[in-house]
């Protein structure tokens, strides 16, 4: 199968055109995943654009995005495939009075027509190019992870009644994890690993300029710098990129073009969601008369 991207630079440029600013690491790993035909396991703090990466890659490669949201209790029937029992029953009843042999009926009801595809199988069977996103894979129990292994390493699904279904085209697979638990070795071994951290100040500024309409370069710079300083504190929950963008938008709505201590104090609750974090940030940055008011 033809590779999707010609070199790392083009991945980066394409992503940028799709409004996703990647750094060297991200672009390189996406490129590599395409070449090696391996899934990417994306880890990192919440709100740094892990899911968005998959969406943007789907966009630039002109692929359909198939998404499997993981949760506790996810099972085969929700992730892989399920037999359509109702339809099977109808079929059996319809054939009740006819002369057809039972074997034939049995063959018949365990055929494609009665199979309900779920995201994983759908991604495998698709004719058109797809990007498969398995979101928040750390939410499923460790036993359920095993469901994914076959599809991740061989791009196939085995259905006992039908046999093995192999992929018509190799989908680009993204798994995201918020790292609430250690994923199994078996899963990690099959994937390329990408850690997306909070962006560097310069990149964050670019992101803000890119995502927030009507923001001045100067304001974006200030926002990025303040956020960087806040992230250096030890907080319960550091501001994510999306919160940074929200903050910048709020400032625009309020018609602010220069952040001073007062505006920062008034709007900091958009960046920080815990009272203790807010108190701490205010204390850190004030240390004097100006901020305390």
């Amino acid at each position: 199968m033809d590779p999707r991207f010609s070199d790392v630079g083009s991945v980066r440029a394409d992503l940028e055109a799709a409004n996703y600013l990647a750094d060297d690491g991200i672009a390189g790993v996406v490129y590599l995943a395409d070449r090696l035909q391996k899934p990417i396991l994306v880890e990192g703090p919440a709100g740094t654009g892990k899911t968005q990466l998959a969406k943007s890659v789907a966009e630039i490669s002109g692929a359909r995005l198939i998404r499997l949201q993981c949760y506790e209790g996810l099972d085969e029937a929700k992730a892989l495939y399920e037999w359509n029992y109702k339809k099977q029953l109808l079929r059996i009843q319809a054939e009740r009075n006819s002369e057809i042999e039972w074997d034939t009926i049995e063959d018949d009801i365990f055929s494609d027509e009665f199979l309900l595809t779920r995201p994983l199988l759908e991604a495998i069977r698709a004719d058109d190019p797809v990007v498969l996103l398995i979101d928040e894979v750390d939410r499923v129990e460790i036993e359920t992870e095993a469901l994914l292994l076959e599809i991740l390493s061989d791009y196939q699904v085995s259905i006992p009644e039908l046999g093995t279904i192999e992929a018509k085209q190799i989908p680009l697979v993204f798994l995201t994890s918020n790292n609430t638990r250690e994923l199994s070795e078996a899963l990690k071994r099959r994937c390329l690993y990408l850690h997306i951290d909070y962006p560097e100040m310069e990149r964050e500024k670019e992101i803000i300029l890119n995502k927030v309409d009507g923001i001045t370069e100067n304001l974006a710079d200030q926002v990025a710098r303040i956020v960087r300083s806040i992230r250096q504190l030890e907080l319960k929950k550091a501001p994510s990129v999306s919160e940074t963008i929200d903050w910048a938008r709020t400032l625009i709505l309020l018609g602010i073009d220069q952040i001073d201590a007062e505006t920062a104090t008034d709007t900091v609750n958009i960046l920080l969601k815990y009272q203790s974090d807010i108190t701490k940030a205010l204390k850190e940055f004030a240390q004097s008369d100006e901020f305390s008011g």
Binding site: N179, L192, R225
Partner: protein
Amino acid sequence: MTTTESPIESADDPSSGGSPMLDLLSGFIIELRNAGLPVSLTENLDAMEAVKHIPMEDRDTFKYALAATLVKNHSHWKAFEVVFEVFFALRGSEYEISEDRFPDLDDMDDDQGDTQGQGQSQGQGGGGGEALSPEQLAQMLLDALRKGDQAMMRALARQAVRRYAGMEPGRPVGGTYYLYRTLRNLDLDGMMDQLMDQSREQAPDGQLSKFEERLERDEYNDRIEKLKKEIEAEIRRMLVADRGVEAMSRTLRKPLPEDVDFMHATREEMNSLRKAIYPLTRKLAARLARKRKYGRRGPLDFRKTVRTSLSYGGVPADPQFRFPRPHKPEIFVIADISGSVAAFARFTLHLVYAISSQFSKVRAFVFIDGLDEVTRFFDGVDDIGEAVHRVNTEADVVWVDGHSDYGHAFGVFWERYGKDIGPKTTVLILGDARNNYHASQSWIIKEIQSKARQVHWLNPEPKSYWDTGDSIVGEYTNYCDGVYEVRNLRQLEGFVEKLI
């Protein structure tokens, strides 16, 4: 998981076919394994495949690509980076040792109309800026820092190392000494002050508000950190060129974060451990909650079983169970905070409190030769670090001379709080049991054990040191349900998991 080295390497060798890149890579992977990273055979093969697709000249991308195939745990990134920097120190165009390019430096000289810049030709051995005086070097560095000019900083870092580090070929050192010498000569603190002064002057009304001041400072700190990194990298490059890849990586090898010994951690390691503990607690809490939900089955629910049996014609084919009653232990932590084990105790307090949502009640006691309850410092506090700090400074734990006396401390505990111990209580004792030859009073532990649900002792010393010198952990062992060696995060994590 470093045991599989030799067969794997020999299996790979034929395919590498003597290509220098693959040789380098297999050496690289051996070193990663030596550093403790669990690199499997599949990952090894992936890396070999990966280097075919990513050109090494694109150094950052190359690094990330290799990491994507080899490092599957973010806490191992640092260790990977060190090995990578050593192994690929001399590769990549802009990182060559050769002296032929200092374009920025020369440009800079010309810009300033500095006559000394003119005389330099490309071929001059010691590098472009040799003719600069220390003052000029400092001035240019200051400019570069103010503008945040990365390329310039790199060139100047090189100069500084050449000039100040005083490297001696063949000396078996890791480079810390050279780094220290270079930084001392550069006086970065002084530069920081100058930069801040300049910012203040440029501010509209001649001074910065506290808020702006803080932001400026963070900005310059960031740039200075980058400069330090450049200097470090330069020193490393020179050392690798001098001593070779293997020797250097051996010198720089450090334990992974989860294997760092609490008792011997450096300050830097302590900081990274402190950062590691937050995700760890979150992870543990999630795992414990999950385990509690799925791990056990409650007793048979008779009514429900009969009800479901109706659908099987009255045969109880599908027995139903009650939802398990969550069992939430009370925890008493009794921690030695004398100098020798303070760091360890602090960690464990951190951890226990951070997952305290899993316990119905946590009470903490600290002692040296006296004992004090410190639960109050934690009540309603969001910032555990702060609370632990208050414990260390405010708790009243000295009775006579401030040397550990377990016997007396346990006596105080028993007298004041012994009655609070009940059948739901789990008691954790943290300490090395180095008692300075005082009486052990181990009968107290025996009494505690008979009242409490469980008594565990966590000892931060290696097992082989137990019961040597004034360590009397053996006298307490008989009365504990378990005595564990807990010297690093890995062991601590393992213990907490076992606790519930």
